[in-house]
Symmetry: C2
Subunit: 143 residues, 2 copies
DNA sequence: CTCAATCCCGACGAAACTACTCGGGATTGA
DNA sequence: TCAATCCCGAGTAGTTTCGTCGGGATTGAG
């Protein structure tokens, strides 16, 4: 995604390119990018000179979206999934008091991820690696 | 640990007890409790009528300590371990710009875990499950 | 003193997951 | 027409997690 971010605005980048730049197997990237496409984060163009490009501006893509697209609902335990579709109650839920903790961790992780956008991670060609400025957070309140 | 928390003050609890209460295999608990003992979170008494007990008051045991004792340094990626002893630089670190993100996630997780103590999770015999009040956080600042 | 209840320890094993491979098909620009 | 792409589903090696197994050391109770 960072690679596609660098490439943003200049048409699609082929998986072969990304694979070379990032030193990852092309076949593997194919798998990953499929999830990203299904999540609407990247657009694909088929045929010769085709490839992938970001569906939105890097600044509009929260890292939480990327990670959730790749990994599914981000939760430290099954009993703490935010997504009600994937909700599964473990058989211990009656006695277990730890759920509160997992929910907090889950929210902390998702807030942290959603507080940065892809733009924060795409290296500007000229400038040195700067600290990110984007902050749409405000959701880290622990209680 | 929650079980030991309930038992706090009334002498050691045997693994057999905990295993029964928590419906987990005793032999497995043995493994876990070894890490907890090595981390100084529980004390063991050998011989008949022996067992394990918390080394400190439940309110003085942060959940982060427990999790780190059981799982090692809590980091979403190898390149973001706080503990310099376990530090390993991945061969991608030169080009990779994502480290900042992992560090944020790591800190968010550890803060969330350290913001609750075992006491927050031990059910009071009389009272219903209440929301935790302990907050020694203040470390969640994202920038 | 003896013995049963306990902790202590190291090695082993199965199931699940992660990161990746493979082979072939569909689409499209040159 | 054909090569460069994306598309798709199935397979697989290595690691990790969760748990097993067998036996040894320690100690309170009778």
């Amino acid at each position: 995604m960072v690679q596609l971010g660098r490439h943003f605005g200049t048409g699609p980048a082929s998986l072969a390119e990304v694979a070379a730049d990032e030193d990852l197997p092309r076949a593997y990237l194919e798998q990953l990018v499929t999830s990203l496409r299904d999540a609407g984060l990247v657009r694909s163009t088929r045929g010769a000179r085709g490839g992938y490009e970001l569906a939105r501006d890097p600044a509009e893509i929260r890292m939480g979206e990327v990670l959730r697209a790749l990994e599914g609902p981000l939760a430290p335990m099954i009993c703490a999934t935010a997504d009600p579709e994937h909700a599964t109650t473990c058989d211990r839920s009656a006695r277990c008091t730890v759920n509160v903790l997992w929910v907090r961790v889950r929210d902390a992780v998702n807030s942290a991820l959603d507080s940065m956008t892809l733009a924060d991670l795409v290296p500007e060609p000229g400038a040195p690696t700067t600290l990110p400025t984007t902050t749409l957070t405000g959701a880290l309140t622990p209680s």
